[in-house]
């Protein structure tokens, strides 16, 4: 009995906070746009009894999903989102790995402080942190003024409102999610393994590729998914730092909801996004499971 209650808690949580909202979104995506409040039809009217339920279900169709295929804006936005998220994830990995490595090799007494410093940015509002990048990256921003001050460039670089700014924003925002799992994988590694590799004739660099990288693989995989999944649907960063040509599905979604007030199409976009994300999530979970088996 007690066990059942314990198990029920996470399931209730999932039901209330994931499944129910998802079913609502799914339902809206199957509805039609209506000039009403809420702005879609049909509505379930239980006063009409059985006939009302039947009317409700016959009113649902896949029209919005077919609409998504007719306008190439959508699939281009999906594709571009995946591309931007993938590139940004790779950049985050390249920046995050050395940091995690340095942390794991730092003297034991420094590590808690270093961990703290990695988490520290979360104490400031995400929105403010992204906004402050505008001040850094804009034409009159800190970065350009600094570079011109030391005479490295003659005229200001245009970084703000380009994809580069979006990459910078994503790398900056999601870096801790990359660092933490890699750090935890590297920290567990026995340093004598590297000595053993060197002793057996590999150079330091070879030892890194043959031992350190494979042993931190689980951390790398976890970090990449933790960055990739939220950055596909990212809305704040592309809309603040990106330009007019930055096409990301989060922005499209926003416009459908708030500019066009087309909730059914917006919901359809969201449902497809979810389906796209389920693929890497399943892959991620499978790799986690594998890692757990190997670690035993």
């Amino acid at each position: 009995m007690r066990r059942a209650v314990l198990i029920a808690v996470p399931y209730l949580w999932l039901l209330a906070l994931f499944l129910v909202p998802f079913i609502i979104v799914l339902k809206i995506s199957l509805s039609d746009i209506a000039l009403a409040r809420p702005p879609y039809a049909p509505q379930l009217d239980l006063n009409e009894g059985w006939a009302g339920i039947r009317a409700f279900f016959t009113g649902l169709d896949l029209e919005n999903f077919t609409f998504l295929t007719t306008d190439d804006l959508y699939w281009k936005a999906y594709l571009s989102s995946v591309r931007i998220a993938a590139v940004a994830t790779l950049c985050t990995l390249l920046v995050g790995y050395p940091i995690a490595y340095g942390m794991a090799r730092a003297p034991q007494e420094w590590r808690p402080t270093l961990l703290m410093l990695v988490i520290l940015p979360f104490w400031t509002s995400f929105l403010i942190r992204v906004y402050s990048w505008i001040g850094i990256l804009s034409t009159e921003g800190v970065l350009n003024q600094f570079l011109m001050g030391i005479g490295l460039i003659g005229e200001p670089l245009t970084i703000l409102n380009t994809n580069t700014a979006v990459y910078i924003g994503i790398v900056y925002t999601y870096l801790p999610f990359m660092i933490l799992p890699i750090y935890s994988a590297l920290e567990k590694m026995d340093e004598s393994l590297l000595e053993a590799a060197e002793d057996l004739g590999s150079s330091r660099l070879a030892a890194f590729w043959l031992v350190t990288i494979p042993l931190s693989r689980n951390g790398i995989v976890a970090g990449c998914f933790l960055v990739f999944i939220p950055s596909i649907g990212e809305f704040v960063i592309p809309s603040l730092l990106g330009g007019s040509d930055t096409l990301m599905i989060g922005k499209v979604l926003w416009e459908e909801f708030f500019s066009n007030r087309d909730w059914p199409v917006a919901s359809a976009v969201a449902v497809v996004l979810l389906l796209i994300l389920i693929i890497p999530i399943v892959l991620f979970q499978r790799s986690e499971e594998k890692a757990r088996e190997a670690g035993r």
Partner: protein, 467 residues
């Protein structure tokens, strides 16, 4: 030592494989290795033994290339390797933690070093197979390290470090993680493999039994220095210092003042084989023997003593037990002390005590201990007699021995095959004696609180200068 015995260290012609020349290693202010000079020869199984922090691991890491000497040279086959990185040395190491690559199978772990050499595939395969066979791991080739037992892991680590056929294999506490039984089996396996492959092994251990079992020579280290290097038997039987005597095995240390014994001929100080690092004992010079001759008191009436020993001792023994204070007059060697009123009567002295050596006054009210193998140079010095418990006899009646001590059994440690008796000698000194339990324990006649006699021969102990 016979010629057939493996002992290149005694051969001045032999070329050492490893030479430490004045090697010093400092970590900041801390000196881990202090001006160390030592040769290690090919095919040796050399054990570095010492308490933790004595520098043995640092020494090994310098050989592997993980540490560079601060001063001095380390030569491998005559070539200075002090600053050669670990991946360029013909030296392999078996790590204490084994350091097996957890993401690779047993096969790939063993092949790791060979693949770095870019050898042809079939050659690598053949070598790995050979190593698997040598360490009896054929069946586990495709397993991952976490899927095999501790003993098997230990063998994988050994196979991996031997795969490249190094000139020198370093073993850092290789058996530390195994339980006692498996450790003992593995020790013999190690010796077997060492003999088969002909590789020079250097083993670091803090387990003296392990060092004694496997090694051809043992180096006892303390605070960055090698205190003594010798074969296990010499280390055990003829330690060169109180530190070594105390570190290796169980020992009774009896402190006292040495007094030269009369000698018929110049005393032979080195009865035992001379350990390598032991400073050559200064031979008794003519003047020393002359002075000994001068000190010689009146000789005992040998005929009277012989008669006494031959005819009266059976009765005599019983008589001593009852009334130990009424003993025959002391021998000449003890004559000066016999005058002292509190001196107990001297024990009977068999005729076969070798002349020369030392006597040790160790406790007022006790007869001096005869150490015929003592170095007369120590005359008048503060000395320590190191006496192994198994070299002491224990009996309820006074035995006929050069040295006897009377005491009371305080404690008995029963170890199954042997028992160790903790005996308190009159005067308060505790002495341990060991006896094999040849009879069933129920029939053991010595028990707690018993008055017993401990006895040992005139050459049972080792006389060492007190530090």
């Amino acid at each position: 030592m016979a010629d057939s015995v493996f002992a290149p260290w005694n051969d001045p012609e032999a070329k050492p494989l490893i030479q430490f020349k004045g090697v010093t290693k400092r970590f900041g202010d801390f000196t881990a290795i202090d001006d160390l000079t030592q040769n290690i020869y090919e095919r040796e199984f050399f054990a570095l033994l010492g308490p933790s922090g004595c520098g043995k691991t640092t020494l090994m890491r310098m050989l592997a290339g993980f540490e560079e000497p601060t001063e001095g040279q380390i030569l491998l086959n005559g070539v200075d390797i002090g600053h050669v990185p670990p991946n360029k040395r013909a030296v392999n190491m078996m790590f204490q933690s084994y350091a097996l690559f957890p993401h690779l199978s047993v096969y790939d772990n063993i092949a790791f070093g060979l693949r770095r050499e870019k050898k042809p595939k079939d050659e690598i395969h053949a070598r790995v197979k050979e190593m698997l066979r040598l360490t009896r791991l054929d069946r586990f080739a495709q397993r991952k390290p976490h899927q095999i037992s501790g003993g098997q892991r230990q063998r994988v680590a050994l196979a991996r470090s031997l795969a490249k056929a190094p000139k020198l294999l370093l073993l850092d506490e290789p058996l530390g993680a195994l339980d006692k039984k498996l450790r003992e089996e593995t020790q013999f396996e190690l010796m077997d493999i060492q003999e088969k492959t002909g590789t020079t092994f250097i083993i670091v251990t803090h387990d003296q039994e392990e060092a004694m079992t496997v090694a051809s020579r043992v180096a006892v280290m303390d605070e960055g220095r090698i205190v003594q290097v010798a074969t296990p038997d010499v280390i055990y039987e003829a330690p060169n210092s109180v530190y070594v005597a105390d570190f290796i095995g169980d020992v009774n240390l009896i402190r006292g003042t040495a007094r030269a014994r009369p000698a018929d001929s110049p005393p032979e100080a080195a009865v035992e084989p001379t350990p390598e690092t032991k400073p050559a004992p200064p031979k008794a010079t003519a003047s020393t023997s002359a002075s000994i001759a001068e000190r010689t008191g009146p000789q005992p009436n040998t005929l009277g003593r012989a008669l006494h020993d031959k005819l009266l001792s059976p009765i005599f023994g019983k008589w001593i037990e009852d009334e130990p204070r009424r003993l025959p007059p002391p021998s000449a060697a003890e004559a000066p002390r016999a005058a002292a009123p509190q001196t107990p009567a001297a024990p009977p002295r068999p005729q076969d005590i070798p002349p020369g050596g030392l006597e040790i006054d160790w406790s007022t009210g006790q007869a001096a201990i005869i150490a015929a193998n003592g170095d007369p140079v120590l005359d008048g010095e503060k000395v320590v007699l190191a006496l192994r418990p198994e070299k002491l006899g224990i009996a309820k009646t006074r035995p006929d021995a050069p040295n006897t001590l009377k005491g009371k059994v305080i404690d008995i440690a029963y170890l199954g095959n042997i028992s160790t008796y903790h005996v308190e000698i009159e005067g308060g000194v505790m002495v341990k004696a060991q006896a094999a339990n040849t009879r069933r324990i129920a029939r053991r006649d010595i028990t707690w609180e018993d008055e017993v006699w401990l006895s040992f021969t005139a050459t049972a102990g080792v006389v060492l200068k007190d530090e």
